[in-house]
Subunit: 345 residues, 2 copies
């Protein structure tokens, strides 16, 4: 097996099938709450056809470093649960009526229950993580969650306004790449405990330097997450309602400028800029149509630019793990970036 | 100084003045967020005239066991911050327009920002606690938060319905007494770290038995919290709008049956029961007036019953710490229950 060979999709799924099934079971166990509505909301979101990419990353990260304990299953469920908690609160914030083609949780259960169910899911994720008795794991999770929440607040402040690329990358880092990065680092953190080095990990002081493995797996996760979100934002602009299960161009309808739009804004004519500005301010296609916006993006090569950028981050992700020991898990990690950039939903 | 002597209010405030001032400062430091709106909401709620009873309990618990480190200041701010986080999310749930006589946070900032600001405050509290590197502290905080959130969800399910005393006590335990109890236990947990026994505390395995101090301080907090909330609920029934800074009998207006009301329901005539049932179902005094309800409660001695029950819990709180070593902090702890039961707002 050569160090630069890349696994196929079926190899990756064979490799992770058993672990992912255990993660599903563990997630169901964790989300069993003494209060029925919490269990209902968690199961509803979990059955909504998510890609389980975060647990997948954690499993691959941990396995690539030789992790053999059940911690990877528990923590795989934890990252999916954290992700689910953010979705529950996001549904309140976005006032979205649908998610992945079904009624959103707030439409079904109302804001009040969703606030509390989201809180409960956060706490359950922390509770499970706390039982690992590993401070590094907790450091990663708590600071992650705070960064994600700050990102949502920053995004709210920027709705309807023009932002530049730097602001865009900060937002998508917080929204997506940060959890991808931490999923990978958690894989490393729980594996360090397997290698006879557990005392160091468990009593880690805050701000301690990362190990080389944590560093490169974290870099991989960050790059992959950026690629993932750029693609997500592109699909939002270009796919039609039926494919994504939400209205086309819902970001623009919410006043959010994403990479292709920012690219066009910086290169467009006065009229182009004005058209985009109008949609963002209106938060609707009342005065400028979706088709007009797509025409502007195509004319300036903005969609191609976003695609190229995503592919560059995907390649950077592959480069990040160049020094990782060869093996089937590294081959699987090399496959993921291509999967992320070639998806159509 | 006799073991049964009780401090005066001014003695207690003298005793805690410096510590409480440091807690205020620490709270301000903790609530400084890179996102301005979080800082604004935290400061707004903090300046709303809260009684700081939770930090006070933590300080007294820790000091009574000889704690001399700054951990008590940090953790004092943490329990107030957790309390503040619950208030921010409660404001969304209750859809209250006022809190303590001022516009509520959701009225001022909107639901979306309040969901996220509450999340941020929870995470900041955990982050600060995590830096103590004490698993016992984290066990207490995370399981507390989950119980509180479950309590809010249970309460929502019971709105507009008749509940019995057992359900009432479960709800007020989760809503108030649980955080009082944990504030006291945290005082003990951070003090254990001072007594040369830190390794045990820090590597505490989940579910480890409590020390005798944690047990009795926790019992004190639980009893005091129940007394506190029974009084709060009584004041809600009897005080007028100007005193509490919210509409009179707002619990009934929200469909919440509290102790005096439950007492009257169990002893009242068919007509009395019907009147109470109507208000709870209507969530308003449209068909039955506030005055009519008060008349029912007075006729059955229900307010006196609630007051007696609160006083019994206050006395139980004092009994809980009988075995604590004598000293000024124990005297102060003996003062608090009387303060809680005699307040009028």
């Amino acid at each position: 097996m050569s160090s630069i060979s890349i696994a196929t999709a079926s190899e990756v799924f064979d490799l992770l099938r058993d672990d992912l099934a255990l993660v599903e079971k563990e997630f169901s166990r964790q989300s069993e709450s003494p209060v029925q509505v919490v269990t209902d909301i968690a199961n509803y979101l979990m059955s909504g056809g998510g890609k389980r990419i975060r647990p997948m990353l954690l499993l691959l990260g941990a396995r690539s470093l030789g992790c053999k304990t059940d911690a990877r299953i528990r923590m795989g469920a934890v990252v999916e649960m954290l992700h689910t908690a953010t979705l529950v609160h996001d549904d309140i914030i976005d006032e979205a009526s649908t998610r992945r083609g079904r009624p959103s949780s707030n439409t079904t259960w109302g804001n009040s229950k969703c606030v509390l169910a989201g809180d409960w899911l956060y706490m359950e994720a922390f509770q499970t993580a706390l039982n690992e008795r590993n401070f590094r794991v907790l450091d990663l999770l708590i600071s992650l969650t705070q960064q994600m929440v700050e990102g949502e607040l920053l995004q709210m402040e920027k709705l309807g306004h023009l932002i530049n690329e730097e602001e865009y990358f900060d937002l998508i880092y917080r929204k997506t790449a940060c959890l991808f990065k931490v999923s990978m680092q958690l894989g490393a953190a729980i594996s360090a405990g397997n290698t006879g080095n557990s005392a160091d990990t468990i009593s880690a002081t805050p701000g301690e330097p990362l190990t080389a493995e944590e560093q490169s797996l974290g870099e991989y996760g960050r790059n992959l997450g950026l690629a993932f979100q750029i693609i997500d934002d592109m699909l939002d602009l270009t796919a039609n309602d039926n494919v994504l299960g939400k209205p086309a161009a819902s970001d623009l309808r919410e006043g959010k400028a994403t990479l292709a739009v920012i690219h066009a804004l910086e290169r467009g004519t006065g009229a182009d800029r004005e058209a985009i500005r109008t949609v963002l301010a209106d938060r609707s296609f009342e005065h400028v149509t979706h088709q007009q916006i797509l025409e502007i993006l195509l004319r300036h090569g903005s969609l191609a630019y976003a695609m190229d950028t995503a592919c560059a981050y995907a390649e950077a992700a592959r480069q990040s793990i160049a020094d990782l020991p060869d093996g089937e898990y590294k081959r699987a990690l090399l496959w993921v970036p291509g999967f992320v950039t070639s998806r159509d939903r």
